[in-house]
C-alpha cells in the first residue's frame, strides 16, 4: 500500500480549493536503470474526488504526469467540515484512499 496522500482543502467564499499530493513514481517505461534495463511503466491511471460521498471529479491520467503528482481542483458550494475523499488506482492495481475535511 502506498503512502497516504496529503490533502489540503481550504474554503474561499463558497468555493473549496482542494490540493492533493500523491506519492507515486509515475514511471514512463522509457527510463533505464543503471544496468541499462528499462524500468517498467508504473503510473496512476484513475483518480476521483468525492465531497461528502458524492463524486465531483473523475480523472484519467497518463505516465506524462510528473512524479509525485500534485493536483488542484475547485469545488463550488462546499462548506467547512465537508468530507473530501480522494482515491487513485495505478496500472499495477495498487490503490489509495485518503480523507480530509474542508477547513
Amino acid at each position: 500500500m502506498a503512502d497516504p496522500m496529503k490533502i489540503r482543502a481550504t474554503l474561499k467564499g463558497d468555493v473549496a480549493d482542494v490540493r492533493v499530493l500523491m506519492a507515486h513514481p509515475m514511471e514512463t517505461g522509457q527510463r533505464k536503470d543503471n544496468a541499462g534495463k528499462i524500468i517498467p511503466v508504473h503510473f496512476i491511471q484513475e483518480m476521483s474526488v468525492k465531497v461528502n460521498g458524492k463524486t465531483v471529479i473523475e480523472g484519467q491520467i497518463s505516465q506524462a504526469i510528473s512524479r509525485n503528482p500534485v493536483f488542484s481542483f475547485r469545488v463550488k458550494g462546499a462548506k467547512a467540515g465537508d468530507k473530501v475523499e480522494i482515491s487513485w488506482l495505478d496500472n499495477k492495481g495498487d490503490k489509495n484512499l485518503t480523507e480530509a475535511a474542508i477547513a
Binding site: 468555493v15 514512463t28 517505461g29 522509457q30 527510463r31 533505464k32 528499462i38 517498467p40 511503466v41 508504473h42 491511471q45 484513475e46 474526488v49 465531497v51 458524492k54 463524486t55 465531483v56 471529479i57 473523475e58 480523472g59 484519467q60 491520467i61 497518463s62 505516465q63 506524462a64 504526469i65 510528473s66 512524479r67 503528482p69 500534485v70 493536483f71 488542484s72 481542483f73 475547485r74 469545488v75 463550488k76 458550494g77 462546499a78 488506482l89 496500472n91 499495477k92 492495481g93 495498487d94
Partner: protein, 156 residues
C-alpha cells in the same frame, strides 16, 4: 531506429508485472474490466488519434479556455499547467502534450459543483504545443499554448 524491439520489451514488462500481481491475488480481473481508463486515447501516439479516441469529432477554437503555463520550462520533468474553461457547462477537460510519445496526458470530468479548473504538473519530452480540449454541451472546444523546454523530462 529499432523501435520494435523496444516496444516488445515494454509490452513484455507490462504483461509480466500484471500477470504476477494477478497471480498473487493482488488484482482481481474484474477490477481491470471495471476500469474506466481510456486505453485507446491514452495509447494513441499522435495527437490526432488521441483526439479521435476521446470521441471528439470536430474541434472549435475557443478563447474561453485559459491555459496558464510557462513560456519556457527549465525542467521538462515538472511543467505546471493550469487550465480554466469559461465555456458554459464544461463537462470535461483533456490536456494533450502534442510532441510527447503519448500525447494525451490527462482528462478530468467535472460533476456536481466541481468547477472546470485543474492545475497539474506534466512531463514534456521536448518543446511542444500544449492543447486543451473542453467538452460542453456535446461539443468540443480547444485552445493551445506553446511551451519551450530546455531540458527534456522523459529520458531521466
Amino acid at each position: 531506429m529499432p523501435t520494435n524491439r523496444r516496444n516488445a520489451l515494454k509490452r513484455a514488462g507490462a504483461a509480466g508485472t500484471l500477470g504476477a500481481a494477478m497471480a498473487a491475488g493482488l488484482l482481481r480481473p474484474q477490477d481491470l474490466l471495471a476500469a474506466g481508463w481510456n486505453k485507446d486515447a491514452f495509447g494513441a501516439k499522435s495527437p490526432l488519434d488521441a483526439v479521435k479516441n476521446l470521441g471528439a469529432g470536430s474541434l472549435t477554437d475557443s478563447k474561453d479556455i485559459v491555459i496558464e503555463a510557462p513560456q519556457i520550462a527549465e525542467n521538462g520533468a515538472v511543467v505546471p499547467i493550469e487550465v480554466t474553461s469559461n465555456v458554459p457547462n464544461t463537462k470535461s477537460i483533456a490536456v494533450l502534450i502534442e510532441k510527447n510519445p503519448f500525447p494525451l496526458a490527462a482528462k478530468f470530468d467535472f460533476m456536481d459543483g466541481a468547477m472546470p479548473f485543474v492545475k497539474v504538473n506534466v512531463k514534456m519530452g521536448e518543446s511542444s504545443n500544449v492543447r486543451v480540449i473542453a467538452e460542453a454541451g456535446g461539443k468540443h472546444f480547444t485552445a493551445m499554448k506553446e511551451v519551450k523546454v530546455t531540458i527534456g523530462g522523459c529520458g531521466g
